[in-house]
Amino acid sequence: MEKYRTSVMLCGGTGCIAGGSLKVKNALIDELRNRGLENEINVVVTGCNGFCAQGPVMTVYPEDIFYEKVTVSDVPVIIEEHFIKGRPVERLLYKEPVKKQTIPLMRDIPFFNLQVLRALRNKGLIDAEKIDEYIARDGYQAAAKALTEMTPEQVIDELKRSGLRGRGGAGFPTGMKWELCSRVKGDRKYILCNGDEGDPGAFMDRSIMEADPHVVLEGMIIGAKAIGADKGYIYVRAEYPLAVHRLQLAINQAKEYGLLGENILGTGFNLDIEIYLGAGAFVCGEETALMRSIEGKRGMPRPRPPFPAQKGLWDKPSVLNNVETYANIPQIILNGADWYRSLGTEKSTGTKVFALTGAINNVGLIEVPMGIPLRKIIYDIGGGISKNRKFKAVQLGGPSGGCIPEYLLDTPVTYEDIVQTGAIVGSGGMVVMNDLNCMVSVAKFFLEFTTDESCGKCPPCRIGTTVMLDILTNITEGRGKEEYIELLQDISQDIIATSLCGLGQTAPNPVLTTIKYFRDEYESHINEKWCKTGVCKELCTFYVDEEKCKACGACKRVCPQNAVSGEKKVPHRIDQSKCIQCRSCYEACKFDSIKIGPRSLRERLMETTDQEALKEIYTAAIAAKEE
């Protein structure tokens, strides 16, 4: 980090940007450079100051001077008088006394101030059903620029230099994809959009399509120009009715305005876009399966090569990009590759949208610069783990991804670093898990999903995932054998090596990462028949630590089986013959006095009727647990 003598914090909130703060920023940077001050004075764009009425506003540190209503023509004066001569410009100083604001400012709340909105820049700001509001936020300016001022090569070059990688999950460089297709000769080419978002817990693309459908169309127009396509399809699952509705309205409006159809903006360029509804098969997010589905056939992948860039939809050269990828493109064309690269890391540039869900306080949709550590996302933006529980793992990349444990939470979110953990960045689903989650069950959940969604075309995926699911089911139901862990790893390697498409090639990841980081849980399931989180019903016994029990009755009230006995001031006890292992008492207890023991404990407790003997078993179980 360089040392600057002065920092200028210029507000980049929507209000100030509308008032021209970005023009002021450019003027500041130019003028500072002209005077050779660029290494002394730093210009930073910040979140909203809350003084939108006086915008554009800026604060100069270390003096803490607050200027309001700054225009481009004020810039030379500020630099000359304040930065060089050290005399703050009176005329621009904030005048009124600051009104006491008790509602917190966005820039003071990590949920907002750690985010940078690019793909989501219109989030919650415009009416998605009004094209004019999109245009008011620079909409279709990038398409106009690409169509009137740029050659396809220039568009591709800008994208290549931006470093943008496919946001659907694989992270293939978008510019390179476009270049490959642009070089193929063909009378007809297709530009396609993948809105078949299917990872459990992921809703990034849906939100973009609902909140800002025109940005997807604009990205596709730019892509069509780059590769020379005149026909496009947006593949959206039918379970996204609002997204479909708003996209269709957007297409209709764009056609009326001549932004789609023939002779777009009078430039002679043609592009027609249609929506194709998917029936919700997960495999149709795979590019060749998606194309087959649009062709009206059963959605199944085919071997590559030939790659879609050569032979795609109806065997014509095609490019398929994800919704979020398209949402980034207009801004790259307008602001340039260098602007895009200014955030993120060398190989993972720009920002990424994540759907943050699970055991976390702020469930929502966020956009952060690439390279931010997972810990910051979970604890600062996400507000930490809900209900004061303990963090256990974060699942990235859905059924193709993996679970990352606590000690790797400082991993920066980039394509390269996340892959090192065994997970993938994926399309952006981020599911946070707490100490109530059993990691074997989590792996089983994802395997159930992939087994269901496997299209069945290739045996490694079809049979392999089924066999793995059987093994996991055996483990969680108490039939686990010692050799199962190695067996799971072996089968995983075979499925990864021999599956036809990404679905099979990545399906074992949730199993592999949970074995890697939570092997002890597999071992206790198999060897001790003990699920320590109490999720696997056949592998646990709930009992009361009578020393700790305050006899408050909380567990008694929530038990659906009336299995808890004990009066006020008498330690409670669980009747094992009635208990159905629902875990309600465990979650209700505030004194940590409900314990989860191995299955064998339950049998011993049920065999014993003698009070003294029972007490001994409890004491021994608690002692064993505390070791």
């Binding site: 980049g12 909130g13 929507t14 209000g15 940007i17 509308a18 008032g19 970005l22 764009v45 910040t46 979140g47 909203c48 100051n49 939108c52 009425a53 604001q101 008790t102 509602i103 917190p104 400012l105 966005m106 949920f111 907002f112 101030n113 940078v116 909105l117 690019r118 820049r121 989030k123 919650g124 700001l125 415009i126 009416d127 998605a128 004019d132 509001e133 245009i135 008011a136 936020r137 909409g139 300016q141 106009a144 849906r206 939100s207 609902e210 909140a211 800002d212 609002l242 009326e256 305005y257 001549g258 932004l259 903006l265 009078g266 306080n361 702020n362 469930v363 929502g364 949709l365 966020i366």
Partner: protein, 127 residues
């Protein structure tokens, strides 16, 4: 609607900027109800209906009511953003009919933000 040229795009941009920023338009305030799938599922339609009802009942003509997509905090939906001219927008969370009516009366009509329901004031950095 006529087919646009590149110049028309710029005209529309200037014309509609005012409805987005309240700077140059004739309106005094703007209420945005966030209506993505998450908002609607949590009850945003009822919130919207209540706003429209208040507008009609009070015969208010200088307030823009509009909807928009997900504001990003799905667990705190329904959400609405209220912006009074020359003031920073205020985001309200976990709304219902009663709350939005109170906000309408106290914030939109009387100019005092309802602190109990407000999450944050300001707009996000978008660049």
């Amino acid at each position: 609607m006529a087919r646009l040229t590149v110049d028309d795009l710029k005209k529309i941009k200037e014309e509609y900027k005012s409805t987005l920023t309240l700077r140059e338009g004739g309106s005094r305030a703007k209420i945005t109800v966030h209506m993505g799938t998450c908002g609607i599922a949590a009850g945003a339609r009822k919130v919207m209906e209540a706003v429209l009802d208040e507008i009609n009942k009070n015969n208010v003509k200088d307030v823009i009511v509009t909807n928009s997509g997900c504001a990003g905090l799905c667990s705190k939906e329904p959400m609405a953003t209220v912006e009074i001219i020359n003031e920073a927008p205020v985001k309200y969370v976990q709304l219902n009919e009663e709350k939005i009516r109170k906000i309408f009366k106290e914030h939109v009509m009387e100019g005092n933000a309802v602190q109990d329901y407000a999450l944050v004031v300001g707009s996000e950095t978008a660049y």
